[in-house]
């Protein structure tokens, strides 16, 4: 008999075959990370029920099986390889296999050159990702599948990482999008991610097999793949067991099952793991800790006996809704804390109604709302004020510690920290890229290990040897935890270890401080996650200070909002009345905005009484029907200026230029150059989601920055248009603007044409000019350029190129002069109107609305003027920096930061592309320059899809801080 075991990240699959290959036994079970126990159990069972003392050979496969097979000296076969063996036996005419597992995704091309692909270091688009999304939607996987059947439209969701997807899904939920549509969108995202990320340009066609858990259980996921691939794939019998089958087929040597079980058992208790000291040495220590923290209490009142003025504060967070009702002296009359189940509206409705009904003697005199759902709830219930979270939390924190100088709030998925300097919010840290240090991280883990979050957290308090797990992504923490369990860590140790990793992530990844002194002495911690004593203890230990945790740590946002409402009370609230509430309606419509080329997908929420709320918009146009402050936006001006470089038909025909990366700055240069030579310059169309998706399949590295990825779409568009000559040169060097120590381009900008050339098959038959060009040597340029062009156009003469070069250099400086002149005008106008000026700094290609997601317009809509870094970077002389200042674009950032320090009404906001390695260096340096000049540093991370909610928090906090100053 042959036994195949597939030990995956979440399940164990077992197959027993007889000598003829007939399946005698199969099982599929979740192992909840207790692998050794489960494995022993399975082995015992098959030994007793199936094998009956016959000869058996056994092979192990699967990601979690590797370690076991090594230590126990059992034969091992890699799982993708096993799949291939099984498919070769059972379905020999299959062309492609797509297999999704708990933490991995694989595509195997069987015909036309065998190739196997597996997801790299990112677990986006896998079973774990779908699980996370189901948790977020608060439905089971089955329900999610059923919901998806009734979808009407698909939203764009990034499935690269669960964390990114969350930041897409959350705003959708908050805007009121339907769960049916979201479910289907999540499946579509998984299909897209798998195809784009793994196929990397190789077409998937012929007979396609769907294997693995998610594709077996979720019919709608298969449907999404079918739609995306335009095929009908097959999910064969035993689709869950292909790896196990393959392993069984590979089994050759006879295995002594008893010995195997023995060594598996031993494996369970060998090894050692890295641990840290226990959180509490004794119960006394814990009691003392509890006593200290129980002193910090908010005043309470008795709502049953209370009558008169009351003030309402609501905090609609990412996963929960919180509300606090205050009496006239600031005492808490009532409060609640509930999961928002994806839609906060009915929850708040119910709460308000119960207040109105149960306590008719109360009058809500003022109200305020904060959090992600601020706008939605404000409009739904006519709440008087909407305030930014940071202000709400600061207001609340001051009530407990008037001299507070640092506030940290860890909620479900976000972490907000800020410093307070001279009574104003100064430095804001948000977790934008990763939620691994947040509450939902612990929650998800507790669930997978089969505990409630409360019980799970308690386990850790007295763990003897908390595991040192480091700080990493939720998905990969799984494998780390498994490793620790294997090495003998108890559930207690793991619970404590996870709390430690939450705190370490917050301190070292989000805030990035080496010691507590930098944070200040008066720290207030809040947010639901800090109600977990283990987390609180670790935080204090790690920083070496005693912090304040109010007893209402989970309600601080709502409490702050209520306090704010109390202070701003004007006697009469606009909040909906009891009658209105009883007849409350909430209707959601989805539509595309047609007011500009962005075509934002809008969710229109309609409530009774003419109240409505539009979500999904990037600018204020669909709300106010007019564009906002377009006159004071240099981004807008630059974009229009670039669009004014129109093609001029010429005798030499057309040359296509993909409009992305450095072309956003060099367009005037090349336009003048080629036009003068008699070429007609054809630009690729403006970036859009569609354009991006069209080129996505040929991206070889999924971790490169989004602006680079977009280039594939631009080149594809040019090829599709039938352009035969495409010009996109490699450039190690940029213009030398004499602001830095050197004048490089970053490696991606410099050499991306090479990637395009090597990976885009559509370029075959095209003349793709991607030679290395040095525009920094004006004298040599015409000579070198003549030689390059002669290869494609033999009739070109040096004299022509010489003249064209002169025109090009002139056009380049003209362009800069225009931008700077306009910049001055905007600054002058803003100063006349007394508006704050934001220097929105990034790279030239951040001008692309598909890249900046309309952040420039968001800023102008908040009442500020926007200028660019290159419009002011020439105002300061070359100065020494603490880093090697070697890139032209980045030198401008440093110069702009320096300049801003001398301008009282200017502030700098830095746009950072996710995955931009260079910005790991520039952000710290820009921050240093600004902080030394007494300015607030604000950084916004942007990617394929950006959570504008988080951006808004940052910007509004910045403006709130500026007002306070």
């Amino acid at each position: 008999m042959k036994v195949g075991l597939d030990i995956g990240s979440t399940t164990i699959k077992c197959i027993v075959l007889d000598e003829s290959g007939k399946i005698l036994y199969r099982s599929y079970e979740r192992h909840y990370s207790r692998i050794t126990e489960k494995l022993t159990e399975i082995l015992m069972k098959i030994k007793k029920d199936v094998i009956h003392g016959e000869k058996a050979s056994l092979t192990i496969s699967g990601s979690a099986g590797m370690g076991i097979s090594q230590t126990c000296h059992l034969p091992f076969v890699q799982e993708v390889y096993a799949t291939r063996i099984a498919v070769g036996r059972l379905i020999p005419d299959a062309d492609v296999v797509i297999e999704l597992g708990g933490e991995d995704a694989k595509i195997v091309f069987l015909t036309g050159g065998m190739e196997v692909r597996m997801n790299g270091s990112c677990a986006g688009g896998t079973g774990a990702f779908i699980d996370q999304m189901a948790t977020l939607l608060n439905v089971s996987l089955d329900e999610m599948n059923n919901l998806a059947k009734q979808y009407e439209r698909i939203y764009t969701i990034a499935s690269r990482c669960g964390v990114f997807a969350k930041s897409d899904v959350q705003p959708l939920l908050n805007q009121g999008a339907r769960k049916t549509d979201i479910s289907a969108s999540i499946f579509a995202a998984v299909a897209n991610q798998t195809i784009a990320g793994l196929a990397q340009g190789r077409p998937i066609k012929g007979k396609v097999l769907y294997l693995g858990g998610p594709l077996t259980f979720l019919s709608e996921l298969r449907a999404s793949f079918d739609r995306a691939l335009k095929i009908t794939g097959v999910c064969p019998e035993n689709s869950l067991y292909y790896v196990a089958l393959g392993a069984a087929y590979c089994s050759a040597e006879e295995t002594d099952l008893d010995k195997a079980m023995e060594s598996v058992k031993e494996y369970g208790c060998t090894g050692s793991f890295l641990s840290i000291p226990p959180l509490f040495q004794s119960h006394e220590e814990y009691d003392e800790f509890l006593r200290r923290h129980s002193q910090c209490k908010a005043p309470r009142g008795n709502i049953a006996k209370y009558s008169g003025r009351a003030f309402l504060g609501v905090d609609a967070g990412s996963t929960t809704v919180k509300a606090v009702l205050l009496g006239k002296d600031g005492e808490i009359l009532s409060s609640f804390y509930r999961s928002n189940s994806g839609n906060p509206v009915p929850i708040v409705q119910e709460y308000l109604l119960s207040i109105y009904q149960d306590y008719p003697n109360l009058t809500i005199e003022n109200s305020a709302v904060t959090g992600y759902g601020e706008e939605l709830l404000k409009n739904a219930f006519g709440i008087d004020f909407g305030i930014v979270e940071t202000v709400a939390h600061f207001t609340a924190a001051k009530c407990f510690r008037p001299n507070v100088d640092f506030v940290i709030d860890i909620g479900g998925q976000d972490m907000k920290c800020f410093k307070i300097h001279n009574g104003a919010i100064d430095n804001i840290f948000l977790n934008e890229a990763c939620s691994s240090g947040c509450g939902s991280f612990l929650q998800t883990f507790a669930n997978t290990l089969g505990y409630s979050i409360k019980d799970f957290a308690k386990l850790g308090l007295f763990a003897k040897h908390p595991v040192d797990l480091g700080s990493r992504c939720t998905v990969f923490m799984n494998s780390q935890v498994k490793q620790a369990q294997k090495d003998g860590a108890t559930m207690e140790d793991i619970s404590a270890g996870l709390s430690v990793s939450v705190v370490k992530n917050a301190i070292y990844k989000v805030i990035r401080v080496p010691n507590a002194a930098e944070l200040g002495r008066n720290i207030v911690v809040q947010g639901g996650t800090f109600l977990n004593d283990a987390v609180l203890r670790v935080f204090e230990n790690e920083l070496g200070v005693e912090v304040t945790r109010p007893d209402i740590a989970g309600l601080m946002g709502a409490y702050g909002a209520a306090i704010y409402a109390m202070r701003k009370s004007k006697g009469k609230s606009t909040i909906v009345s009891k009658d209105e509430l009883e007849n409350f309606k909430h209707e959601v419509r989805v539509t595309n905005c047609g007011l500009c080329s962005n075509h934002c997908r809008l969710t229109v929420n309609i409530f009774g009484g003419n109240r409505r709320f539009i979500g999904g918009n990037r600018c204020e146009k669909p709300v106010t029907k007019r564009s906002s402050g377009a006159g004071l936006n240099l981004y807008d001006y630059k974009l229009n200026l670039l669009r004014s470089y129109k093609p001029v038909p010429g005798p030499r025909g057309k040359i296509g230029i993909p409009m992305g990366l450095n072309m956003y700055e060099l367009l005037p240069f090349w336009h003048a150059f080629f036009t003068k030579l008699g070429f007609e310059i054809i630009l690729s169309p403006s970036s859009s989601r569609e354009l991006y998706l069209n080129g996505q399949a040929s991206i070889p590295s999924d971790t490169v920055c989004f602006p680079a990825k977009l280039m594939h779409g631009h080149v594809q568009a040019l090829v599709d248009e039938g352009i035969k000559n495409i010009f996109y040169p490699c450039m190690s060097y940029n213009f030398n603007e004499h602001h830095g120590d050197n004048h490089y381009n970053c490696p991606v900008v410099a050499y991306y044409p090479e990637v395009i050339n090597a990976n885009m098959r559509c370029l075959e038959g095209c003349n793709f000019i991607h030679d290395y060009i040095g525009i920094h040597r004006r004298h040599d340029f015409p000579h070198k350029m003549t030689a390059i062009l002669k290869k494609s156009f033999p009739d070109i003469k040096f004299s022509e190129v010489f003249e064209a070069s002169n025109a090009a250099y002139v056009a380049h400086s003209d362009y800069f002069r225009k931008v700077r002149t306009k910049g001055d005008e905007i600054v002058a106008e803003a100063r006349k109107q007394g508006l704050p000026i934001i220097v929105l700094s990034g790279r030239p290609y951040h001008l692309d609305p598909e890249i900046n997601h309309g952040i420039d317009k968001l800023i102008t809509s908040l009442g500020a003027a926007v200028i660019t870094e290159d419009s002011v970077s020439n105002r300061v002389k070359h100065f020494p920096t603490k880093v090697l200042n070697q890139w032209t674009y980045h030198a401008r950032l440093y110069s702009a930061a320096k300049y801003v320090c001398g301008q009282p009404d200017m502030n700098l906001v830095q746009l950072v592309s996710f995955g931009c390695g260079v910005d790991a260096i520039t952000t710290d340096e820009v921050r240093r320059i600004l902080e030394e000049g007494g300015k607030i540093y604000t950084q916004i991370k942007i990617d394929e899809i950006t959570n504008l909610g988080a951006v808004k928090i940052r910007l509004r906090s910045l403006f709130a801080a500026l007002e306070e100053k």
């Binding site: 990601s63 590797m66 076969v77 890699q78 799982e79 993708v80 390889y81 050159g113 065998m114 196997v116 597996m118 790299g120 270091s121 340009g201 890295l274 040192d468 480091g470 990969f476 494998s479 490793q483 070292y508 080496p514 070889p700 590295s701 490169v704 680079a708 490699c730 190690s732 050197n742 490089y744 381009n745 490696p747 991606v748 410099a750 050499y751 991306y752 090479e754 090597a758 990976n759 991607h770 290395y772 060009i773 040095g774 920094h776 040597r777 004298h779 040599d780 070198k784 020494p880 603490k882 880093v883 090697l884 070697q886 890139w887 390695g917 260079v918 910005d919 790991a920 260096i921 710290d924």
Partner: protein
């Protein structure tokens, strides 16, 4: 005690007094090479010490003091320094650090600044940092790269390449385990001794010693069993450093593979050649071209000696000539791609594949900028050129788990073993 002196921009200098009093710590990368190179530096009158601390604390210190989005090598190198300084083994008031700086367009040129920022954060600003570079980037009164030092450095590099290459090609097949490593030890200490006496540096001596090394390795008894041959390419630090690549070489040896890690010599030649290519591509001073060309020719002649020595023993596969490597990528990627490992990385993949090491691990730090282009960006192309190439790109960073990395490598190895089996059957059929 030496006084702390600063230059105009406030950079702490390494002074002449410090040269006498201070211990200079150097980070570890390629062990065989670095040990020899450190000997050279000691030989030039500096108190050098090569760090060998590794373990989780190195990563922890790195995470603590370096921007977490910075590349993994920076995090590790700086983590290693801080960990060493915190260990109490060194007097922080009498210790300096040395770090290389290429001056290219990659982030790596900024490691030194990140290191200084980290020292400041850790409250050890008094520790001077020396930049080791050939681009005249930072001057220090107490540390000079001199011509004789450079010559010795090159010699150490060539010996290192020879030892590494012979060890890798012998070890997988040795009958008596451990013999190859014993030879490495033997020759390393021999060379150290020679260096200390100012010998083993002249062309003639080098030739003699390299040939003797090759002959000596030939005496190791080997068995002739076909093994999976795996090449390792990638970002230079992650490629060589066991700390950076989770002991990749050991893992592959444990999987019964012969490994081939292309030497440092090509990298040196590549970096020098870049200066020539720059002038060819964009124009520049012809005198500079001539001067650089002299250096280039010097290095090339050294490489020739190395190749001749290895070729003298037929059972060994000699490294390719630089000109050959360079010719392989014509039409694949341009000679102007010079940041990081640039076109050399692509060329190494093609060369390894050509030489029978078609199973390749392309190792890079997560999000490595140049490797988006010349590593991952070119795999598609390399496969199109050489159908049998079997390449797996692996990303390394503090949050990548070893299990995941090894699982992907095992997939590559499963395919490699299958290919090896079918090759063997074919061979048998022909016979």
């Amino acid at each position: 005690m030496a006084k702390l002196k600063y230059n105009r921009n406030g950079r702490l200098l390494f002074t002449r007094e410090m040269k006498k009093e201070y211990t200079i710590l150097a980070p570890m990368m390629a062990p065989i090479h670095f040990r020899l190179m450190i000997d050279v530096l000691r030989n030039c009158g500096y108190h050098f010490e090569l760090l060998d601390n590794c373990g989780p604390n190195v990563v922890q210190e790195g995470l603590k003091y370096v921007h977490n989005d910075t590349c993994y090598p920076a995090l590790l190198v700086i983590g290693q320094f801080i960990d060493a300084l915190h260990s109490g083994k060194y007097d922080v008031n009498k210790t300096a650090l040395v770090i290389t700086q290429t001056g290219g367009g990659c982030r790596a040129s900024n490691y030194i600044h990140l290191l200084r920022k980290a020292l400041k954060k850790a409250g050890m600003e008094q520790v001077p940092v020396i930049s080791l570079n050939l681009s005249f980037l930072e001057h220090n009164p107490g540390f000079h790269v001199t011509l004789p030092m450079l010559r010795k450095f090159v010699a150490a590099m060539v010996y290192g390449d020879a030892l590494m290459l012979l060890r890798n090609q012998t070890e997988a097949y040795e009958v008596h385990q451990g013999e190859s490593n014993a030879k490495v030890e033997k020759w390393s200490s021999y060379l150290t001794d020679q260096f200390n006496h100012g010998r083993a540096m002249s062309r003639k001596e080098q030739k003699r010693i390299l040939f003797s090394i090759a002959k000596d390795f030939e005496t190791i008894e080997i068995k002739n069993t076909p093994k999976v041959k795996v090449g390792i390419v990638g970002e230079i630090f992650v490629k060589y450093s066991a700390l950076g690549n989770n002991h990749l070489e050991d893992f592959l040896r444990g999987q019964d593979c012969e490994i081939n890690v292309p030497g440092l010599m090509d990298f040196a030649l590549f970096k020098v050649d870049n200066r020539l290519e720059d002038i060819k591509l964009y124009g520049g001073n012809p005198f500079k071209y001539l001067a650089v060309n002299v250096l280039m020719n010097y290095l090339l002649s050294m490489q020739n000696t190395l190749i001749a020595a290895i070729e003298s023993v037929p059972r060994y596969h000699a490294p390719p000539h630089y000109a050959h490597i360079k010719s392989l990528i014509k039409g694949v990627i341009g000679y102007g791609d010079k940041m990081g490992e640039g076109w050399l990385l692509t060329a190494e993949m093609l060369e390894l594949s050509e030489a029978g090491y078609e199973n390749i691990v392309c190792a890079q730090p997560f999000g490595c900028l140049p490797n988006h282009i010349c590593g991952k960006g070119m795999i598609h192309r390399v496969k199109a050129i050489d159908e049998k190439s079997n390449i797996v790109p692996i990303d390394y960073d503090p949050s990548a788990t070893r299990v995941n990395q090894e699982n992907r490598i095992k997939l590559m190895l499963a395919v490699a073993r299958e290919n090896l089996r079918s090759q063997n059957t074919e061979r048998r059929n022909i016979v």
